[in-house]
Amino acid sequence: MGRNTIRIAPLLLAGVIALGLPLAVRSATYLHILVLLYLYAYLTTSWNLVGGFAGVLPLGHAAFVGIGAYTSTVLSLQYGISPWIGMIIGGILATIVGVIIGLPTFKMRGAYFALATIAFAEGIRVMVENIDNLGPFRLNGPRGLQIPPLKTGFLNFMFATKEPYYYIILFMLAGVLLLTYAISRSKLGHYLVAGGEEPEAAMALGVNVARAKLIAMAISSFLTAFAGTFWAQFTLFIHPKSVMSLDISFEIAFIALIGGRGSIAGPVLGALLLRPVSDLSRIYFGAKLPGLHLIIFGVVLILVMLYQPRGLQEPLTRAYRSITKKLFGHTEAA
């Protein structure tokens, strides 16, 4: 068995299962949970470009989600522009904001950077919460915007059932994973990793670390904004606390960290493990013991960090490699 076959086979298998799942899962609720799972996997993978490869800890990515959501929603509600186009415009806006944020903050290290991203994200959220009308655009402040579920169709990015949403987010996820893979193999990817681990050495070698980080930020914010548009079209209601809150930024970062940032599979694994914990514990315990699901989440968080700080993907990858070794004989050093 060639090395490549071993690597690709499970991916193909996962892909086939993912494509076929909606046929087996009839319940709209579970499809809904799966869609959210993929959405978070998408968000964490996009975040990973900055938080994983560039080696910093951005805790304000929800701002980009919000920018994407509001841009496409306002444009479609007020001007009838298709949310797909709104999605691209939202992405561009988010990129601009991301670069503006990145320019001064990338010079900072660690805790300062994290705090700066929090401050930016919260600042933007507070502003949107207080502004009813930004010029000709109606933002509606804290009351949020509701998208009437009346005209369905691909162009309107509006569907009556969950399946189309499922496939859209699945493709978005696959796309972003491929992109991450491509970047990790490219010069940009190597500059980022070098810049993240040993910035002085990298700069001594002539790597423009700052520029690499900014590019990563630009791509990351662009992609994250797409998720915002998807969210708006899926839940049909957005308001600052639901699309731009600190909770979302934290959840994205922590899922990626638990899964293992800096790797490609890590964020997805994190989402696979944590989202069901969050959703299921809320469903089964939410009413009887309110808040219990957050306690469980906290405990899981701590346990994983105590025993596998580099993310769960590390032991899982090792286990996987040893299994394939046993099954298919030894391959060249993987």
């Binding site: 799942l21 009839r26 809904h32 509701q146 209601f237 493990l273 939410g286 009413a287 596998q308 899982l316």
Partner: protein, 418 residues
């Protein structure tokens, strides 16, 4: 290396769990095949900032359902009992929407009620409409909830434009009764859906009534210090202060205003936080003379009010409030509709609800005399009551003062605040 083996096993377990989890979704729980049971889904804020009012709603609904089931359930459905499913919205709209989906698709409820926070109710009713499941809204007041053109939404409480309208009529009546003019108004409100909705209504009514608005101040419900706000109110020196607050900020504002000796001629609150029993307990004497508009008060002069309130109080330790009464009433409205629908088909239940003409029974502990829904699903007869908080010898209590017909006998409202 031995240590690692244990962890390895643990990780294989974690790995297995991670892959089994999504697979668990393939197993769809079968719908229960049992004797007829009416399943009702209830979405409430059971954690988060509105948790205490969410709990009160749950208690009053549970009490109603206990009574109904004990009395034999739904007779036209062969004595079918009602089962309540509760879901926690955490006051977040997206959670409310997700829970509605789950209750409808997995638990297969026949009806939904909820969600207390207008911001949660608004998008959640859209979910019910999509699936044709009737949705009874006991409490949320935002106008737009019944203005979406939906056929499955039925609201018990009055819309917020009625609340604001009645507040201004009351101001008018106060001026007439006490022969004193009110010229300036101040609006202070929580910076959410509810508060901003009221403020919009107030501004329009102020313009119509020729009042001068000296302060229009939204504040974040999570503010940690209300002194600047109290100062602002004091310096604006309004005749009447109108408030929309949740429990925590109501307490903080009232206490801070007392500390800074802020004394407009009258303070009119809008239910919600001010009607929460914890407000009276925490604000105590500082709350004296505040007017509050609610749909119900413990001294409403209707049969059964005292008994039902006593029953609730002995079970849970505090009085019913307007919102918990709405939730209680909603249960009886639901039962009445089920009896007439004679079926668990959502469309039949929906049609029965639309034809509701309830004038008797435990639902009538309401301050008004009938429940009937108009074409938008709004309870036509929902009316409001203005109370004043005062101590007339039995400790600080809420006393109905308006409309004149609902006023507690022998009590004269205090205006202006001494």
């Amino acid at each position: 290396m031995r240590e690692r083996n244990i962890w390895w096993k643990a990780y294989v377990c974690v790995l297995a769990f991670a892959f089994v989890c999504p697979m668990a979704f393939l197993v769809d729980r079968p719908a229960s095949a049992q004797p007829k049971v009416v399943k009702v889904g209830n979405i409430l804020p059971l954690s988060g900032p509105s948790a205490s009012v969410g709990q009160q709603n749950k208690y009053s609904q549970d009490m109603a359902i206990e009574e109904i089931n004990a009395a034999g359930g739904i007779k036209s459905l062969g004595g079918a009992k009602i089962t309540m499913f509760y879901a926690d919205s955490e006051s977040k709209p997206e959670k409310g929407v997700a829970e509605a989906e789950r209750l409808i698709n997995t638990e297969k409820v026949h009806l939904l009620t909820g969600c207390w926070n207008s911001a949660v109710t608004y998008p959640t009713t859209a979910v019910a409409e999509r699936y044709g499941i009737p949705f009874i809204v006991p409490v949320s007041v935002a106008d737009k909830i019944t203005e979406q053109g939906f056929k499955t939404v039925f609201r018990i409480a009055a819309k917020d434009s009625w609340w604001t309208r009645d507040q201004f009529v009351f101001i008018n009546d106060l001026q007439k009764e006490f022969n004193m003019k009110v010229g300036t108004l101040a609006f202070v409100y929580e910076n959410g859906d509810w508060g901003k909705g009221f403020a919009a209504g107030w501004n329009k009514l102020a313009e119509k009534g020729g009042y001068k608005v000296v302060l229009d101040e939204p504040y974040p419900s999570t503010a940690t210090d209300m002194s600047p706000l109290a100062q602002k109110i004091k310096r604006a020196n309004p005749d009447v202060l109108l408030l929309v607050s949740n429990a925590a900020d109501a307490i903080l504002i009232t206490n801070t205003m007392a500390e800074y000796k802020v004394k407009p001629k009258a303070i009119i609150a809008s239910g919600g936080g001010h009607a929460d029993p914890s407000f009276l307990k925490a604000a105590g004497k500082n709350a004296q003379h505040i007017f509050d508009i609610v749909e119900w008060e413990t001294d409403v002069n209707k049969p059964g009010v005292q008994e039902i309130n006593q029953k609730f109080k002995s079970k849970y330790g505090y009085n019913l409030a307007g919102e918990s009464v709405d939730a209680y009433i909603a249960m009886y409205v639901m039962v009445d509709a089920l009896e007439r629908a004679k079926s668990l088909d959502p469309k039949a239940i929906r049609d029965a609800l639309a034809k509701t003409k309830l004038t008797k029974g435990p639902a009538m502990i309401a301050g008004y005399d009938a429940i009937e829904f108009d074409e938008t699903g709004q309870n036509k007869y929902a009316a409001l009551v203005m109370v004043q908080i005062n101590d007339i010898g039995k400790g600080m209590e809420r006393i109905s003062v308006w409309p004149k017909g609902a006023r507690r006998t022998g009590y004269k409202p205090v205006f202006p605040i001494p």
